[in-house]
C-alpha cells in the first residue's frame, strides 16, 4: 500500500477503481513475489522501460483521466515499425543453406531471377534450388489458367504417394524425429526380406554365380597371402575387382571365419550353401550398405537438399532407400554395389560442401572398390578441373597440384601391397590385367545398350574385328560424355574469378557448375552404359544413381520426377531376364510396386498430360505390360529361344537413349541458366540481374 503514491506520480491521476486494479496488477507482477525492496527497484526501472512504449501518448495527456491501466506490451509491440512482420533473414548458423533464389523469388515471380555469377560463400547453389525455381514458374504458369488451379491443388492433396502421406502423418503427430530411424528400419526390413529369397547361381554347380564369387573371394583373401590373391586358381572365380573389394572381402572373411570356419575353408567350402552361411553373406551386404550407402544418403540430403524443407528431405530419403533396382541386385542377386555407389555419393557430397580433396579421395576409393565407377570419372574429373579453371590463376594451379597428388597418393595406398616397397613393380600387372579384361566380347548377355540392340539388325561381329569394335566403342563413349565434360569445363571457365577480385581461394566453396554435376554424372554414366565395351545389365545401377538423386527432391509434376520414375521402372524391367534366372520374380514385382506406391507414381494411370514424357511413359508401360503378359502365356518359338530378352532389350534401349539425350538437354539448359553457354557475357560488371536490382 505504501507504494501507491509513487504510482500516482508516474501514471497521473487514477480513479479509485483503476487504482485497485492497478495495484493487484502490479502486485501480481512483482511486489508480492519479490518483496518490497525488489518491488521498488522494479518500479524505479519502470518509467524507463515504458517510455518507449508510450511515446505516442504525450505528457500532456497525463492530465486526462485514464480509464484503463497502460498495458505492458510485448517487445515486438513497442516498436513503431512493422519490420517484424517480414520473415527474419536466415541466420548464418541456420542449418539450411541459403539458396540464392529463394529471397528474390518471393518478390518477383515474373522476371527470371538472374543468378549471381560469382559464387559467394554461403550461396550454395544446389540443383534443388534450381528445381524449386522451376516448380514455382510452373505453378505460376498453371495459375494463369484458372481452370487448372483446382485440379493441381487437388492432385497435390490426394496424390502424394504413400510415403508422402506417411511423412505428413508423422509430422502432424509430433513424430518427425522418428521419420528417419523408421525409414531406415523399414528399409532394413525390406532388404533383409528380399534376401530371404534366392540369389545368383543358387544350386547350380559347378560354377554357381555372383554369390559364390563373392564368397570365394572371402575364402581366398583370408587364407592366402596378398601376392596370391590375383593369381589363385583363376578359372574358378578369380578375383577381378580392384583391391578395396579384396580388403573388404578379407575383413568380412575374417569375421566369418571367427564365427564359423567351415563357411570359408579354403577349397573345401566351394559351393557351400548352408542356410547359416547364406545368412552371414546377406548380413555382410546389409552391414556394408548400412555403413556406407545409408550415411552417404543422409549426408547427401544435408549437402544437396539442405535448402529444402524437412519433409521434402524425408520424401527424398524414402525414394532413395527403397529404390528397387539396387535392393534387387544387392540383396537379391548378391553384389556390393551400394558400397561403390555410396563412396561416389560421398564424393559428390564433399564436392557440394567444397572439400575437393576429400571428394577426390572418396572417388578414388569408389574406383578402387569397383572399376565400374570409371563411368562417373569424366564428370567428376571435369568438375574438378573446371574448379581449377574457375579459380584464380595461381590458386587454380595450386588446387590442381594438390588434387593430383591426393589422387595419386590414394591410388598408391590402395595398391600398396603390389607396389615397390613391398613387391616388384611388375606385380602390379596382375591385378591390373584382372581388373580390365579386354579379352572378352563386345557384350555378354542381352543387355539393353546400343550394341546389343543394334545387333538385332546389324551383326557387328561379322563386319569388324574385336579390336576395331573396341576402338569404335571407346570413340562413341567419349562422344557420348563429351557434352557433359564440355558443359562443366566451359561453365566454370566462363564464370572464372578474375584475378585481383579480392577473392581468396578459401572463400570459394564450390564451383557455380555444381547444379550441373548430377546431369553430367547421368550423361557420362549413361553414355558408358550405352556405348562402351563389356557392359552388364546390372551396370544400369550407375546411371540410376544420379537420376534417382534428381528425382528425389523433385515435385511429382516436374519432368525430372517423371523421367526418374520411368527410367527406374524400365531399368528394373531391363534386368528382368537376369532376375528371372535368379528366381527373384516375386521380389521383382513386390519391390517395384512398393517403390511406385511409396513415391506416388502410378504407371497404370495415364496422367492426361500430352507432354512428350507422358506419352512416352504410357507407350513404354504398355509395351512392358504386353511383354510380361506374352511371356506368361506363350513360350518362345524354338527358332528364337531368346525372343523375350531381345524384345526386352528393344523396349529398354530407346528409353535409355532418350534419357541420355534428355540429360544432355537438361545439362545445356542448366548451364544456360548458370550464365550462358560459351557466350562471354557482356554484363560482367553487372552481376546483379534485373531481379536483384529491385531490392
Amino acid at each position: 500500500m505504501a507504494d501507491l503514491p509513487e504510482h500516482g506520480s508516474f501514471d497521473g491521476l487514477l480513479n479509485r477503481k483503476h487504482m485497485s486494479r492497478r495495484l493487484s496488477y502490479q502486485s501480481q507482477n512483482s511486489t508480492k513475489s519479490l518483496g518490497p525492496h525488489v518491488g521498488r527497484v522494479v518500479q524505479s526501472l519502470r518509467p524507463q522501460a515504458s517510455s518507449g512504449s508510450i511515446r505516442t501518448v504525450p505528457d500532456s495527456d497525463a492530465e486526462s483521466e485514464i480509464h484503463s491501466p497502460i498495458p505492458r506490451r510485448h517487445l515486438l509491440l513497442q516498436t513503431d515499425t512493422k519490420h517484424w512482420l517480414k520473415p527474419p533473414p536466415l541466420s548464418p548458423s541456420s542449418s539450411r543453406a541459403v539458396s540464392p533464389l529463394s529471397t528474390p523469388q518471393t518478390n518477383s515471380f515474373t522476371t527470371l531471377p538472374k543468378i549471381p555469377k560469382k559464387s559467394r560463400r554461403g550461396s550454395a547453389l544446389s540443383f534443388s534450388s534450381l528445381k524449386e525455381f522451376e516448380d514455382r514458374t510452373q505453378e505460376r504458369r498453371a495459375s494463369l489458367r484458372p481452370s487448372t488451379i483446382n485440379t493441381t491443388t487437388d492432385d497435390d492433396e490426394r496424390e502424394g504417394g504413400a510415403g508422402k502421406r506417411w511423412i505428413r502423418w508423422m509430422h502432424k503427430h509430433g513424430m518427425k524425429h522418428w521419420v528417419v530411424p523408421c525409414t531406415i528400419l523399414a528399409s532394413v526390413c525390406v532388404k533383409w526380406s528380399t534376401g530371404l529369397g534366392s540369389y545368383s547361381g543358387a544350386g547350380t554347380p559347378p560354377m554357381f554365380g555372383d554369390y559364390e564369387a563373392q564368397r570365394h573371394w572371402m575364402e581366398i583373401t583370408t587364407h592366402l597371402p596378398i601376392r596370391k590373391w590375383y593369381t589363385y586358381d583363376l578359372p574358378y572365380w578369380g578375383l577381378d575387382y580392384p583391391p578395396l573389394t579384396a580388403y573388404h572381402s578379407w575383413l568380412f572373411g575374417i569375421l566369418g571365419n571367427w564365427i564359423n570356419p567351415e563357411w570359408f575353408a579354403l577349397d573345401k567350402s566351394r559351393g557351400i550353401e548352408s542356410p547359416t552361411s547364406k545368412v552371414y553373406m546377406r548380413f555382410t551386404v546389409l552391414a556394408s550398405d548400412l555403413l556406407v550407402y545409408v550415411p552417404a544418403l543422409l549426408l547427401f540430403l544435408r549437402a544437396w537438399h539442405g535448402s529444402r524443407s524437412r519433409r521434402t528431405q524425408n520424401i527424398a530419403l524414402l525414394a532413395l532407400l527403397f529404390q528397387p533396382s539396387l535392393i534387387l541386385i544387392d540383396s537379391g542377386h548378391f553384389q556390393y554395389n551400394s558400397v561403390m555407389l555410396g563412396l561416389t555419393l560421398l564424393s559428390m557430397n564433399f564436392l557440394a560442401t567444397g572439400h575437393d580433396l576429400l571428394a577426390a579421395v572418396c572417388f578414388v576409393l569408389s574406383l578402387g572398390f569397383k572399376q565400374m565407377a570409371l563411368y562417373y570419372a569424366p564428370a567428376i574429373g571435369s568438375y574438378l578441373l573446371g574448379k581449377c579453371l574457375h579459380l584464380e590463376y595461381k590458386s587454380g594451379i595450386r588446387l590442381f597440384l594438390r588434387l593430383g597428388a591426393t589422387t595419386l597418393f590414394t591410388f598408391y595406398i590402395l595398391f600398396l601391397p603390389f607396389l615397390p616397397p613391398f613387391a616388384s613393380i611388375s606385380s602390379i600387372l596382375e591385378p591390373i590385367s584382372r581388373i580390365f579384361p579386354f579379352g572378352r566380347g563386345l557384350f555378354e548377355d542381352k543387355v539393353a545398350n546400343f550394341w546389343c540392340a543394334s545387333n538385332v539388325v546389324f551383326k557387328w561381329r561379322q563386319y569388324a574385328s574385336t579390336d576395331v569394335l573396341v576402338k569404335c566403342s571407346a570413340a562413341l563413349t567419349a562422344l557420348g560424355f563429351l557434352p557433359s565434360v564440355v558443359g562443366l569445363i566451359l561453365g566454370s571457365f566462363n564464370t572464372r574469378v578474375s584475378s585481383g577480385g579480392g577473392k581468396k581461394e578459401e572463400d570459394i566453396m564450390q564451383n557455380p557448375t555444381l547444379p550441373l554435376l548430377p546431369y553430367a554424372l547421368l550423361t557420362s554414366s549413361m553414355s558408358f552404359f550405352l556405348f562402351s565395351f563389356q557392359v552388364h545389365e546390372k551396370t544400369i545401377l550407375l546411371p540410376l544413381l544420379p537420376i534417382t538423386l534428381l528425382l528425389s527432391g523433385a515435385a511429382s509434376n516436374s519432368s525430372a520426377f517423371e523421367w526418374g520414375v520411368l527410367v527406374n521402372n524400365v531399368a528394373v524391367f531391363s534386368m528382368w531376364p537376369l532376375l528371372k534366372k535368379d528366381g527373384l520374380g516375386l521380389q521383382y514385382v513386390a519391390l517395384t510396386v512398393l517403390w511406385n506406391w511409396i513415391i506416388g507414381a502410378n504407371p497404370l494411370r495415364f496422367r492426361g498430360s500430352y507432354s512428350f514424357i507422358g506419352l512416352l511413359s504410357a507407350a513404354v508401360y504398355t509395351a512392358i505390360a504386353t511383354l510380361h503378359l506374352l511371356e506368361l502365356v506363350l513360350s518362345p518359338p524354338a527358332r528364337y529361344p531368346d525372343l523375350f530378352p531381345v524384345l526386352n532389350v528393344l523396349v529398354s534401349t530407346p528409353v535409355f537413349v532418350l534419357t541420355w539425350l534428355w540429360s544432355i538437354k537438361r545439362g545445356i539448359e542448366v548451364s544456360w541458366a548458370l550464365g550462358g553457354v560459351g557466350l562471354r557475357t557482356k554484363q560482367k560488371g553487372d552481376p546483379a540481374g534485373p531481379s536483384t536490382k529491385k531490392d
Binding site: G174, L185, C189, L196, P275, V279, R282, A590, W597
Partner: protein, 527 residues
Amino acid sequence: MSPQYFRLMYHTSRSTDFEVHRNWLAITHSLPISKWYYDTTSEWTLDYPPFFAYFEWMLSIPAYFIDKRIVDLNNLNYGAWSVVAYQRSTVILTELVLGVAVLRFIRGSVDPSTQRIISASLFLHPGFLIVDHIHFQYNGFMFGILLWSILMARNGNLLASGALFAVLLNFKHIYMYQAPAYFVYLLRAFCISPNGHILLPRFLSLANIVIAVFVLSIGPFFLMGQLPQLLSRLFPFKRGLNHAYWAPNVWALVTALDRVLLKVAQKTGVNLAIDAAGVSSTTRGFVGDTIFAVLPNVKPIHTFIITILIQSVYLVKLWRTPTYKSFVAALTLCGYTSYMFGWHVHEKAILLVLVPLSLLSAENHAYFRTFLIASVAGIFSLFPLLFTPAETLVKLVYSCLWIILVIVPLNKRVYEFPRTLPSVILDYTEKAYLAGFPLLQLFVSLFPLLRSTPLATPSSTAGSTAPSACVSTDSFTCPDPDIQLQPSAPGSGSAMEFLPLMVTSVYCAVGLTWAFLRLSVIYLRSA
C-alpha cells in the same frame, strides 16, 4: 496398406502348420464329407470345426486347377513353389476381411484419427506377420470375423454380432475362450430390457440364428452320427498342461517354480515329497504331460474350474454395466483368463488377448500402459515360433517398427503424469521391465554362440542375465517337432539348449501376468 511387403515372406521357412493346412486341402478335396474327420493318412488330422473344413474345401477347388498335386492326399510334405505361392496368397487374400473390418471401425468412431492408428496397428500387427505370414495360419481371416462381430456390437446391431460370433466359433473353436463374455453381454443388453424385463422375441430370434449357424455347421455330421468323433477331434484332452514351449502364462511360472524348488531340494537335501515321475519329466525331451516334482499336480478339471471362477467375476461386472466398452474389456479379460489358466494353451493364443485389447488401448493411460506391456511381452513370446537366424532380423526389426509407430503417437494422446509415489515406482518398474527385453533378446541370440565357444562358461553368462538360470535341466523341446536346431554341443550342452526358451517364457509370463492383474483391477474399479 499394402500387402506387398508380406509377399516377400513367401520365401521364409515353412512350419508344420503349412503342411497341416495343405493336408487339409487334400482331405477336403479328395474325400467325401463323411470321411473328413476319420482320415488319418497324415499325422496332421483335421481338428478344426466344420466351417473351417468347408473353407478349406472351397480353397481346394482353385488349388486343383493350379497344381493337381497340391490336393493329392498321399503327397505328404509337398513343398513346390506352386503350393507355397498358392497357400501364402490365400492368407493375404483372406486377410482382406480383417482389413475391411478395421477400416469400418474408423467410420463412426468417436475419435477417427486415434482409431485410424489402432486400426492400422491391428492390420499390421507383428503377431499376424509371425503367425500367419511366416508360420502359416489363417488368423487374419478369423480375427477379421471377430472384429466384424465386435464392430456390429459397437454399432448396436447385437443380433448380427451374435450371429457372426457363432460363425466364428464354427471356424475355430479356440474362440470359446471369449464365449462367456458374448453370452452374458447378449443376454443382458439384447434380450433383457434396461428395467429388467425379458424381451422374448429378441431372445428367440437370437437363439434361432445361433442354432441355425450351428445346424449349418455340424448338422451334416450330426445326421451321419459322427458327432462324438468330431468332438474327440476338436477337444483332445490327452495333451499336457504345458505346450512343448511353455506358453507364458501362470502355469509357466508355476512349472518354473517347481523346477527351482526341485533344484533347491536336491542341493540342500531338505526332505520334500519329491515325485519320481516329476523328476523324470523334467529331463525328458518330449513332453506328453507335465508332472510337477514338488508342487501338487494339476488336472484339466482344476484349470477349468479356476478359469470359470475368475471369469465369473468379470461377467458379474459386465452384467451390471452392459455397455460396449465394458463388453470389450470383459471380452479381453475372458480370453486373457483362459490364456492364463487354460489347459495346454498355445502361445499363439495370445492374439486372442492382444487384438481386443488394442481396441481399448486409447481409452486412457492405464489401459494404454497395460496394452503396451501385454503387447511387448506377447509379441516377444511369439518370437520362438521363428527360429532361423534369417527370420530373427525380420521379426525383430518389424516388431520394433510397429512398436514405435503405434506406441509413440498413442502415448502422446493419453499420457498422464504419475501423481503419487507408488505410481512413480510402478512407472519405473514397468519401464525397467520393458527395458529388459533388448537384454533378453541379446541373451537369446548370443547364447548359442557362447555355448559353442569353449571360452565362455554358460553358467556364468546365464546366471548374470537370468534369475532362473540355476535350472539346468528342463523339459523344453523345440516349438515344433520337425525343427532341427543347430547341432548341439555334446554332453551337458544339450541340457542347456532350451534355457533361452525357458527364460523367454518365464520373463514374458511375468509381464503378461502383471498386465492381466492390471487389466483386471482397471476393469473392476472402473465406473
